[in-house]
């Protein structure tokens, strides 16, 4: 079980409060986590990554274990603590704009 915290606007959109608890069928990677989130909350498709290219949206970041994972491969394994559910996978909206 992977624990995910979405930014407030996406929690509102998905009609959830607090963190998500997500099961992934394969190994825990950015891609498998996002796939699982989008499968359970289809309204989030396109909000974190482009639907056609699957590229992360420019003002969205993925943090975990005090590291910015945004620039890593979407298929790289997430830290073990995230995979085990002891640390959150954070989806973050950049501090920008008005």
């Amino acid at each position: 079980m992977i624990r995910v915290l979405l930014p407030q606007h996406l929690r509102t959109l998905a009609k959830v409060t607090g963190e998500l608890q997500i099961e992934v069928e394969s190994q825990a990677t950015q891609r498998s986590v996002l796939d699982a989130i989008e499968a359970r909350y289809p309204m989030l498709r396109g909000t974190m990554r482009d639907q056609a290219t699957q590229e992360r949206r420019p003002f969205v970041r993925f943090f975990a274990c005090e590291e910015d994972l945004s620039y890593g491969s979407p298929d790289a394994l997430l830290p073990e603590a995230v995979a085990q559910g002891t640390e959150l996978f954070l989806v973050v909206g950049a501090i920008a704009g008005g």
């Binding site: 930014p7 509102t12 498709r45 396109g46 909000t47 639907q51 056609a52 003002f59 950049a94």
Partner: protein, 371 residues
């Protein structure tokens, strides 16, 4: 008893304003989708409970919301806007080729006959259609691919397709407009398109009367007479009587012919409204006076409408999608400002009063007349 429902898109959410036919006592709901840019909110003419909304964000991209109960509740529908085929390039600000990239939906135009069919005008400029209530979107690619697309260039606000006019007398005819490419028309339900910019002159492009490249801000039509169109161009108010085959200027005695909005009275096809803005570098009313100008002669002769509008120290803008009319016997006219005011006139512009004063910057205003 008749009612009106005003759908307001703002930079930080959508608002629904409702009143009875007197239009002097308003119930306001919102913000819906708080914090999101609501570029456009528009209801179906055949099912007023069906409303579509463009919800967008620089962070989280584009969503389309749909209501089936007149804006009380909403559900997200499809938001995948994929250009048909290999999209190719248009011209960038510096004249170099630039790949087509979807950014947002500027305008949603529900069908005149089917509540599940809706058109979306998007940035980078293209026209999409859904026939299943917004779940799936397909590009009408004949517009982008008709031949001039590689020459289109964005205006300062982006290369958005912002105007979609469906001909009520000919379901195969659609007019659209793009900043800064110009106006286009299809006569075969979107399969093929051609520019309709003859008569436009734009000093800010190398060839002032080029086939494309004109920064059209908005076009308006009266449903009873769809061959007559009124255009607010970047500069110049224009008119065509032959469905865009030729345009002529009708700016007449306006204090400035720059502006964004233009609309037509619901019952008087020759009565037209604009809000003159000082210039392309000073996006506010001349002299700090917010004035709607009305022509009852289809252009050229304009009268200022000021009663109830601020006549000093007013420096707001009125954006291209932020004016609409209702169809009550005494035609109501509505517009929203970047200062967050939504003004209503229940008497065709003779007098005005704010419905609300302190919304976020208003991006769009649409009106539904409900029986």
């Amino acid at each position: 008893m008749s009612k009106v429902r005003v759908l307001v898109g703002t930079k930080k959410g959508a608002f629904v304003l409702e009143s009875d036919a007197k239009r002097d006592n308003w119930n306001i709901s919102g913000p819906h989708f708080a914090g999101w840019e609501m570029y456009h909110v528009k209801g179906s003419p055949v099912d007023p409970n069906r409303i579509y909304a463009s919800q967008t964000s620089g962070w989280f991209g584009q969503l389309v919301q749909r209501s089936s109960d007149g804006g009380k509740t909403w559900e997200p529908v499809g938001n995948k806007f994929a250009y048909d085929g290999v999209p190719g390039t248009h011209m960038w600000y510096d004249g170099t080729p630039h790949p087509w990239e979807f950014k947002r939906v500027w305008h949603l135009e529900p069908s005149l006959t089917d509540p599940d069919t809706v058109y979306a005008g998007v940035e980078d400029a293209a026209l999409f259609r859904s026939t299943d209530g917004g779940q799936n979107w397909s590009e009408l690619a004949g517009l982008r691919n008709h031949g001039t697309g590689s020459k289109w260039q964005p205006g300062a606000g982006g290369m958005g397709l912002h105007t979609i006019l469906l001909d009520p007398l000919d379901p195969r005819r659609i007019f659209i407009a793009i900043s800064a490419a110009g106006a286009f028309r299809t006569d075969d339900a979107g399969a093929s398109w051609r520019p309709i910019n003859r008569g436009l002159r734009s000093q800010y492009i190398p060839d002032p009367d080029a086939e494309v490249g004109h920064c059209v801000h908005r076009i308006a039509m009266h449903g009873s007479r769809p061959d007559v169109l009124f255009m607010q161009k970047h500069w110049d108010v224009m008119r065509t009587d032959d469905a865009g085959e030729s345009w002529r200027e009708v700016s007449g005695n306006l204090p400035t012919d720059f502006g964004f909005v233009i609309d037509v009275h619901a019952h008087e096809p020759e009565t037209v409204y604009v809000v003159p803005i000082k210039s392309d570098s000073e996006h506010f009313p001349p002299d700090g006076k917010l004035r709607v100008y009305r022509s009852k002669t289809g252009g050229n002769e304009w009268e200022p409408l000021t009663k109830g509008l601020p006549q000093s120290d007013c420096y707001v803008n009125v954006l291209r999608d932020a004016m609409a009319v209702d169809s009550l016997d005494s035609c109501g006219v509505y517009f929203g400002t970047t200062g967050g005011q939504v003004y209503a006139s229940p008497d065709a512009g003779d007098s005005w009063a704010p419905i609300v004063r302190d919304l976020p910057a208003v991006l769009s205003v649409e009106v539904q007349t409900l029986q």
